[in-house]
């Protein structure tokens, strides 16, 4: 038996057009899984799908800001695809805004997409007949959930909310044999990181100051996500697993 094996498993991945979501789709597919990919970026999804093996993979262009439409969308998708063994939520927007320019509206928007869509998706995929026993759910959090830094109040609170919801839901859904965890990356070499570097300019060295193993690659994070989806991690639930190059230890 291989430790990482997802043969015949069906996995839903949101935010799958770029970065960590994209690498996760590629990796779990290589490990034998069929995937459903959701993202707002249809062209990006088409590229990812084209690089995958097998004919059962599907993609849907959907804006997860529309929480009210998620239930019917998921029911429709899973009616054809069959019940899920895994769900990975990679959708999320970064936001940088000093307090003086913050507003409840901005907080609410970030919370809705980063956290609201996660809980709504978890609710929908854990409905009867939408999942198989052993379903593993993984959310992508951030070290900012655990460590404060200036200007990221909205983003950090949405990720802390996700980590906390996973603790509560892991307990609540344990009786259905469902596990939930989050992966907690520090800086990862994604388009969002490249934007940050541009923004920071000369101060870019500070960004990785505490991350003493250096910048992570999306594939590094995808490995950890894949492990959490596999049976081998069957004892892990309600946890926030660091993928942080040492960030949280300093």
């Amino acid at each position: 038996m291989k430790l990482l094996d997802l043969t015949g498993k069906k996995i839903l991945i949101t935010g799958a057009a770029v970065g960590i979501g994209k690498e996760t789709a590629i990796l779990v597919n290589k490990l034998g899984a069929e995937v459903i990919l959701i993202d707002i970026d249809e062209n990006g999804l088409k590229e990812v799908i084209a690089s995958l093996e097998g004919n059962g993979n599907q993609f849907y262009s959907y804006d997860l800001n529309d929480l009210d439409g998620i239930e019917s969308e998921i029911d429709k998708i899973l009616f054809g695809f069959g019940p899920l063994d895994g769900f990975v939520h990679c959708v999320g927007i970064r936001s940088r805004r000093p307090l003086s320019m913050m507003s409840p509206k901005l907080l609410s928007e970030i919370m809705c997409l980063n956290f609201g869509s996660f809980v709504e998706l978890v609710r929908c995929v854990t409905k009867k007949n939408n999942f198989n026993k052993g379903l593993s759910i993984v959310g992508i959090s951030s070290v900012s959930s655990l460590r404060g830094s200036a200007g990221v109040t909205a983003y950090a609170s949405s990720k802390a909310a996700m980590d906390c919801a996973v603790r509560c839901l892991a307990k609540e859904l344990a009786s259905k044999k469902i596990r939930l965890n989050t992966v907690v990356p520090a800086q990862v070499n994604t388009p969002a990181y490249k934007d940050l570097i541009k923004l920071k300019g000369d101060a870019k060295d500070d960004i990785l100051f505490r991350q003493y193993l250096g910048l992570g690659e999306p594939a590094d994070v995808a490995n950890i996500i894949a492990f959490l989806l596999c049976k081998g991690s069957g004892l892990i639930t309600g946890s926030a697993i660091p993928a942080d190059g040492g960030f949280l230890s300093t």
Binding site: A161, A165, C168
Partner: protein, 251 residues
């Protein structure tokens, strides 16, 4: 004799001040010498409130603290009439229990609004130029639910975890202005026991969740004292923490 928690000469704003815990906080801050400005959604005509507002170092303002659009104008008025603040306490917020299968985002959003959005908006409004003193201190009342998972308390817990995360970020950001921001993770408090949702929560979470609180139930005065501690100069360099006040609940 010295009192390191002395608050004489400080003006403190307490939002959510007419709850039982809020009133206890206001009363104790007053006892420690502070001038206290109370703020809450409605002016309930309870005798306890009348007693406290009768003190000459306490004033009460009322507007809907959960209506985001009202906060800025409300704070403009308060600051205009009361001057510079040395401390801000947020003990507003709401509770609630709901299993995942019945939990739509409206329920979560309502909780986030009362427990996070209002807090951040108030911090923004009170830390504007010339409104908050150098070395001022901000304290938010959070809950151990922020760090411990409980069935059917997802929305409440997540809103408190979000509050604590905002406290860390705001502490980092406002350190430039020498403003401190902390929260208190409270366990079961005596006043909680009167709330209707607690009973259902107890039933949902096996056994008696209270038993986890090894030192027993918390008296609101202890919360008031801890708030005073974090507001006072005794904690000049404590910032960004979530202080456990839980009788050993998380052990």
């Amino acid at each position: 004799m010295i009192n390191p928690m002395e608050l004489t000469g400080k003006q403190i704003l307490v939002a959510g001040a007419t709850s039982e815990t809020g009133l206890t906080i206001v009363n104790q801050l007053g006892n420690l010498g502070a001038k206290v400005v109370m703020l809450d959604i409605i002016e309930k005509k309870l005798p306890e409130i009348e007693d406290i507002t009768a003190r000459d170092n306490v004033v009460l303002y009322t507007f809907n603290i959960y209506e985001n659009a009202e906060i800025e104008a409300g704070f403009n008025q308060i600051v205009k009439e009361c001057g510079v603040f040395n401390g801000f306490v947020y003990c507003g917020g709401i509770g609630g229990v709901r299993p995942l299968s019945l939990m739509k985002y409206d329920f979560i959003k309502n909780m986030m609004n009362a427990n996070l959005f209002s807090f951040v908006e108030m911090v923004r409004c009170i830390t504007k130029k010339n409104r908050f003193a150098n070395r001022g201190s901000i304290v938010a009342i959070s809950s151990v639910s922020s760090i411990k998972g409980l069935k059917s308390k997802t929305a409440y817990s997540a809103s408190k975890a979000a509050l604590d995360a905002s406290v860390r970020c705001l502490a980092a950001e406002l350190s430039e202005k020498k403003i401190r921001v902390n929260s208190i993770l409270k366990g079961w408090v005596e006043t909680d026991m009167k709330a209707a949702f607690i009973k259902s929560n107890m039933e949902l979470n096996e056994n008696d969740d209270l038993k986890k609180q090894l030192l027993g139930i918390i008296d609101p005065i202890e919360i008031a004292n801890t708030v005073a501690f974090l507001l006072s100069d005794a904690t000049k360099t404590i910032t960004g923490i979530s202080l456990l006040l839980d009788g050993g609940y998380v052990l």
